[in-house]
């Protein structure tokens, strides 16, 4: 699953429409693209974490 999430995030980083769709409704993206909801939800959450947010989580500088 981790590999699939990473790949989805990578695609979304280069595709603003996908990124916005994920951020808006990850479950809809899961249905549209036949991807497990867990994968789209994880991708949406990771994409929502900014560098500042990562710093706050202690996993970023």
């Amino acid at each position: 699953m981790a590999k699939e999430v990473a790949a989805l995030i990578e695609r979304a980083q280069g595709d603003s429409a996908l990124r916005q769709a994920l951020m808006r409704n990850p479950d809809q993206v899961a249905r549209d693209r036949d991807i497990p909801r867990l994968v789209t939800r994880a991708a949406a959450r990771a994409l929502g974490i900014t560098a500042v947010g990562l710093a706050a989580l202690g996993v970023w500088f």
Binding site: A2, A6, A7, L47, L54
Partner: protein, 336 residues
């Protein structure tokens, strides 16, 4: 009390004899204190460096799981605490084996040297196994499959195999390494250990099969997520501390095939991180942006396992008919 000559002189011979006895029996005891008081361990005097992982995690995990699953927590309390300490001893030992295998240099290793560290870690390992055997001997449940010693043996063998895969992967090129294999290694070496702690906890209190299976799976996901987060943290330390941190001890320098490093190797940076020079990202905004993107991907890999654990925990709560306590949720990282 002898108010004249003093009692200390009176017992000098016995004290010397008892000291010899104690020293012969537990010669490694003082060194064990050094190992168990290191940062993150149960006896640590300083707070954990991580805001997420409390000191004594390996004792708190089985303690929290067993307390939640027990139908009579008060009665089971002493045995649960004994199991918690046994897990702390076992995992502390494995942690120091890992340190020598990876040639890390903690304060404990510098203080004791490799010989004493190895022997002491082995003694802690043996004490942990002995505690499990004693719990088995006094168990009212103890079907063969629920014997703590058997569970530990099965899972520890699996974890050691995973650890060896990790070491063997160091010899392989980073280029072309499949990130799915990183996760498989993380599952084998870290997921297995968290699963072991959960299985031991549920076996101790005789939890039903479905609860046991769910918690075993939750443990696996928790272990994988924690491993990825640790690997991100290691890389972050390496990148941000380039020039000041001991780079030669990092995952990067050892060519560890961690999830974030393998993703980084596939990125537009094309494995830029092979020397200290290329690690200094300050002022290189484009590279920094790529690096951030890759770390976001790696973090997504950890989050999906946290979410999977959370989803299983909901089913567990339905089965138990009770919400997971805050401490159990915290130790499993369910709200992370």
């Amino acid at each position: 009390m002898d108010s004249g000559g003093g009692a200390s002189g009176l017992f000098a011979t016995e004290q010397a004899s008892l000291r010899d006895e104690l020293q012969a029996w537990l010669a490694w005891g003082a060194d064990a204190g050094v190992l168990l008081a290191a940062p993150g361990k149960l006896l640590a005097s300083t707070p954990s460096a991580s805001t997420r992982v409390p000191a004594g995690f390996w004792a708190l995990l089985p303690l929290s799981v067993a307390s939640y699953c027990s139908d009579s927590p008060r009665e089971d309390g002493p045995r649960i605490r004994r199991l918690a300490v046994a897990c702390e001893l076992l995992l502390c030992a494995l942690d120091y084996y890992d340190e020598i295998e990876d040639n890390d240099a903690s304060r404990a290793r510098r203080q004791l040297g490799d010989g004493r560290l190895l022997n002491c870690a082995s003694a802690l390992y043996q004490e942990g196994l002995l505690a499990l055997a004693e719990l088995d001997d006094t168990s009212r449940l103890s079907t063969p499959s629920a014997r703590l010693s058997s569970i530990a043996s099965e899972e520890l063998r699996r974890a050691m195999s995973g650890q060896h895969l990790d070491l063997l992967a160091e010899q392989r090129p980073l280029d072309g390494f499949d990130s799915a294999e990183c996760i498989a290694i993380a599952q084998a070496k870290s997921g297995t250990l968290c699963r072991m702690a959960c299985r031991l906890a549920t076996a101790l209190v005789g939890a039903p099969g479905e609860v046991t299976a769910l918690l075993a799976e939750i443990g696996t996901h928790t272990g994988i997520a924690s491993q990825i987060e640790n690997d991100i943290h290691d890389l972050e330390q390496t990148v941000t501390a380039a020039g000041t941190a001991p780079l030669e001890k990092s995952d990067l320098a050892r060519s560890k095939k961690t999830f974030p490093l393998v993703l980084l190797a596939r990125s537009a940076l094309q494995t830029p991180v092979s020397s200290a020079d290329t690690l200094v990202y300050e002022g290189q905004e484009q590279k920094l942006a790529v690096y951030r993107n890759v770390m976001q991907q790696a973090l997504g890999g950890a989050i999906v396992h946290r979410l999977a654990a959370g989803s299983l925990a909901e089913r567990l709560e339905q089965l138990r008919g009770a919400a997971a306590p805050r401490k159990l949720r915290a130790i499993l990282g369910l709200d992370a």
